[in-house]
Amino acid sequence: MEASRRNVQSAGQRVGMKKTEKTDKKRSKPDEEEEEDQLFDLNNKAVEEDEDDKDLSDSEDSVYSGLEDSGSDSEDDDDDEVVEEEEEEEEEEKDGSNANEDEEEHSEQSTVKKSKKKEGAVVEKEMKKDDEYDHDTSDEEDIRNTVGNIPMEWYKDFPHVGYDLDGKKIFKPIRNKDELDDFLEKMENPDYWKTVHDKKTASDIVLSDEQIELVKRLQRGQFGDVNFNEYEPTVEFFSKDVMIHPVTNRPADKRSFIPSLIEKEKVSKLVHAIKMGWIKPRRVEDDSRGRFYDLWASESSSSLAKHKMHLPAPKIPLPGHEESYNPPPEYMFTDEERALWEQQDPSDRRLPFVPRKYPGLRQVPAFSRFIHERFERCLDLYLCPRQRKMRVNVNPEDLIPKLPKPKDLQPFPTTQSLVYRGHSGLVRSISVSPSGQWLVSGSDDGSVRLWEVCSSRCMKTVQVGGAVKSVAWNPNPSLCLVAVAVDSVVLILSPALADKQVVSSSERVLTAKEEEEGPSEGSQPVVWSETEGEELNQGIRLKIQHPKPVHQVTWHSKGDYLASVMPEHSSHLQVFIHQLSRRRSQNPFRRNKGLVQAVAFHPIRPYFFVATQRSVRIYNLVKQEMTKKLQANSKWISSIAVHSGGDHVICGSYDCKLSWFDLDLSTKPYKMLRHHKKAVRSVAYHRGYPLFASASDDGSVIVCHGTVYNDLLQNPLIVPVKVLRGHAITHDLGVLDVTFHPTQPWVFSSGADATIRLFT
């Protein structure tokens, strides 16, 4: 609205310019100011045009120009208001009717303006006439003076100020007022302050009280009409509620129902063009060349691959509560934590700093380690690993080989059943009769005892007069003989704990070859002799005198051959093989290949196992040559046992290891078992069940299950199934010997605590 007014005004100005060909300074003022000025026109002009008035007052006749500007709108009245207001009553009356008409056509804001003008008119009218509303109109040209909208100073030098409608001069009043008069009037006239000077008519007008009141109201920005309520409630014609009647009652156009033919034509043309390929719908802009280019197009694939393996630099962890200048109390270090922090190596510390509390952020000092940390960060970035570490997520549980449950591997000995008590010294060696009814034990107390297995009854005690190093029951079930190694003698004992037939047949074996004894003697290092008297009554039948202390005796499975071991570093006489039926002894080895620890016969083939400190040599007794050498991977072999099938050998060693060999497979141990805490003293194989046991100085016997499958592709199953404890450790010695029952899954163990125990 303001803008339109401005246009109109400028149009009016142009009109004025045409008419007067001179621009008033006032016209060029911004409209806002102008608006305000207009309000004060009544006052200002009186003062302002005093000079003019002097000049004007010279001419008495005031002339009205009856000419109206045909091009001027009603809006022009705004500008000419002041002039118009001084027009005569007749014209004003006419104007008033026009103004009323105009008011209705104008919008709200202009109405306000008009009302102001109207007030102005009212003032004038009340001064002159009572019925001003008859003709007063602000729209009308001020026709009391017809000079129009010109600077009135042009009439400064004339006695008149213009022309009236009749073309007569409007004369200025005879002015004799000088400064003094003015002052005097100011002093004397009480109405001076409300007297305004009308330039157009060059007359003084005294404003009435109502006019002054109106001026004051307008100055305050209020409506001229006291009764006008500017805050009347508006009548909302549009609300959120859906009304039954439309806002406008105009029916919808027909065209809104009918498809547009023109549009249809246009569309069909487009479709045709697309079909013919003249235009391409939605052409994609091709940025492939020109605007963008592939920066890495020339790079080789390897360098690209490198980018794929890009490793982001290690990130700095985000600061936590500890880093706060005001950490929660639980993050503060206690005294112990602080002490620990101070003790720890910087690399071990959980935090690289001590959380501290400050009363405010302003109190926080500069971070003293800043340079240091930056440096470390740079180091991190620089030393960031350039290679991706392929981490395989493997559950450690999965790496453990699947072992069958011991339950599935039964039977094996689990509990201690019987304790054979009677010895007074440590029991070095035990052996079970082939029937499984009897057990023989040799002890350091110089006795050999024979026990009934099922009742732990000691049936017989044979005093042999020396610490018994080794006992061995003849594995031949048709013989009942026990070989006992005492000092440097091997005794052949006939315990007579068997069928009479067996006893007699073993007697026969012992006595049969007396005739051949003669020639076999001579320079033999081994001397056979028969016993007499007390020893004979005890059952000791033969003595085989060795040159050195015998540590081990072992029988061949046929029961005729007997091997004895005399470990010595410097001698080649370490092993003797004795033939019982012919009472002959021979030393199978000419050279010393190391300290012999134990020997064993192969149960089926004519092989002979000799265990030295580090290795086991296998000799073919028939061909008299070494066939194999097993490396035990241990420092000091203590014992050896051969499986009844002859394919597997176990070796116990003083360095707590048990090596399991498969003779067909390799000369290296197939499996090393390190279950014992201390030296392994003895190992044993079960004759029937897939069991082997090892006895150790830690007082335990470990029973292992060892199945070898016929299918060569399947790995042998070697599982420790039971740790048997019971023996007390005496003088740092635990279990000294272990042997299996020939038929039952029972294991016997003899210990340094002078007992023998049966585990079933």
């Binding site: 039964q410 029937s435 009814q437 009742s455 038929t743 039952q744 079933t760």
Partner: protein, 423 residues
């Protein structure tokens, strides 16, 4: 659930109460229930004196509070519980302690005399009062088993089996206290570990370490059987002087793969044998064949048969006593396991007059009295022995005997009232 509906009944006519359901506290134990029954009986008979009772719920002895027992047995607490009560078996009272010179390997008692075999190579005859009557010496090795065969008035026939591979048949006159070795039964090639006579006393069976069972005639005769002697006869003659006339087996039953540990003549023509080869075999003596094989998983040490309940009880090295039905064909069906021993069960014996009770001896020095209706825990532990127990026996007169490696033979008097009630 604080109360349970229970109906009490008994087969003992002396203690019958009215057949009315009672509401008893669920938490009540044997003692509480006993009070209830005694109160009822007192109300019925003014002369009733307090009797201790044991209670059975569905054939199982009540050992825990009633609610707990029913929960473990899975018995509904909604219905009326049928509770049987029997007079409580009083603890067997130790009577005599008979000292031996050596370990006692075997014991068998009849109504008058006790026969024990010992590791000192002798057998001994004792009176029931614990007086040593006779020492049966003749074996050259440990006596492993003994058995009474028959008694005709004052003359008794008895058997001793020994490690020296023979069984000796003795005739003993109790009045004159004269003992005579009638026959020496030769044939075994291993120690004879078990003997058993048939119910008529005309035959006996022996089992040996040599895996054989042999059937012998137990009738003493005046002539020796022919034995083919080995070639070196003079030497053998020298070694052992003959005691009595040599007797050869009527029949040899072979089939076991391991030593026979126990034999039992359980019916007129039926022999049962337990062996270390983990089997119990039932033999038909007429045909000499195996009728049934019961296979276990461990070595059997002993068996006992009760004609009352027709069950075999076996003791084995895995500490369990197992009950078998010998009539099942090739069944390895264990009816029940009685587990409480901690060592090998070396001896087991059914009560001769009670179908539910048996006694067992073990290497854990304990003799236990069992009731098959309470398989978790024995009725009584008889902890008299200080060493391994090797043999137990139970006489018709209610005397229990046990001997072991502490050289002592204990007898326990077992409440006689029980025998009436149980049978």
């Amino acid at each position: 659930m604080s109360q349970l509906q229970a109906r009490f009944f008994t087969e003992d006519q002396r203690y019958v109460v009215d057949d009315v359901p009672f509401s008893v506290p669920a938490a009540s134990e044997v003692q509480d229930l006993g009070n209830v029954i005694n109160k009822l009986l007192e109300a019925k008979h003014a002369s009733h004196s307090r009797v201790e009772f044991d209670f059975l719920v569905r054939g199982q002895f009540l050992r825990t509070p009633l609610a707990t027992h029913m929960e473990t047995e899975g018995i509904s607490t909604e219905d009326v519980v049928e509770i049987e009560y029997v007079q409580r078996i009083t603890a067997p009272e130790p009577e005599e302690c008979m000292m031996h010179d050596d370990w006692i390997s075997s014991v068998e008692a009849d109504s008058e005399w006790i026969l024990t075999g010992s590791y000192d190579k002798t057998a001994r005859i004792w009176s029931l009062e614990g007086k040593a009557v006779m020492t049966v010496a003749g074996h050259s090795d440990v006596v492993k088993d003994v058995a009474w065969v028959k008694r005709d008035g004052l003359t008794s026939l008895l058997l001793t089996a020994s490690l020296d591979q023979t069984v000796l048949l003795w005739e003993w006159n109790s009045e004159r206290n004269k003992l005579k070795a009638r026959h020496c039964c030769r044939g075994h090639t291993g120690s004879v570990d078990a003997i058993s006579t048939d119910p008529t006393g005309s035959k006996f069976c022996s089992g040996s370490w040599d895996k054989m069972l042999k059937i012998w005639s137990a009738v003493p005769t005046e002539e020796a059987d022919e034995v083919e002697e080995p070639a070196d006869r003079p030497r053998k003659k020298q070694k052992t002087q003959q005691l009595g006339l040599t007797r050869t087996p009527l029949m040899t039953l072979s089939g076991h793969n391991e030593a026979v540990s126990s034999v039992l003549w359980c019916d007129s023509e039926e022999v049962c044998s337990a062996s270390w080869d983990h089997t119990i075999r039932v033999w038909d003596v007429e045909a000499g064949i195996v009728k049934t094989t019961l296979t276990g998983s461990k070595v059997f040490n002993c068996i006992s048969y009760s004609p009352l309940c027709r069950r075999l009880a076996s003791g084995s090295t895995d500490r369990h006593i197992r009950l078998w039905d010998p009539r099942t064909k090739d069944g390895a069906l264990v009816l029940l396991s009685l587990t409480s021993h901690t060592g090998w069960v070396t001896a087991v014996k059914w009560a001769p007059s009670h179908e539910h009770q048996l006694v067992s001896g073990s290497l854990d020095n304990l003799v236990k009295l069992w009731d098959t209706r309470s398989c978790k825990a024995p009725l009584y532990d008889l902890a008299a022995h200080e060493d391994k127990v090797f043999c137990v026996d139970w006489t018709e007169s209610g005397l229990m005997l046990s001997g072991g490696a502490d050289n002592k033979l204990y007898t326990y008097r077992y409440s006689a009232a029980q025998t009436d009630a149980g049978a």
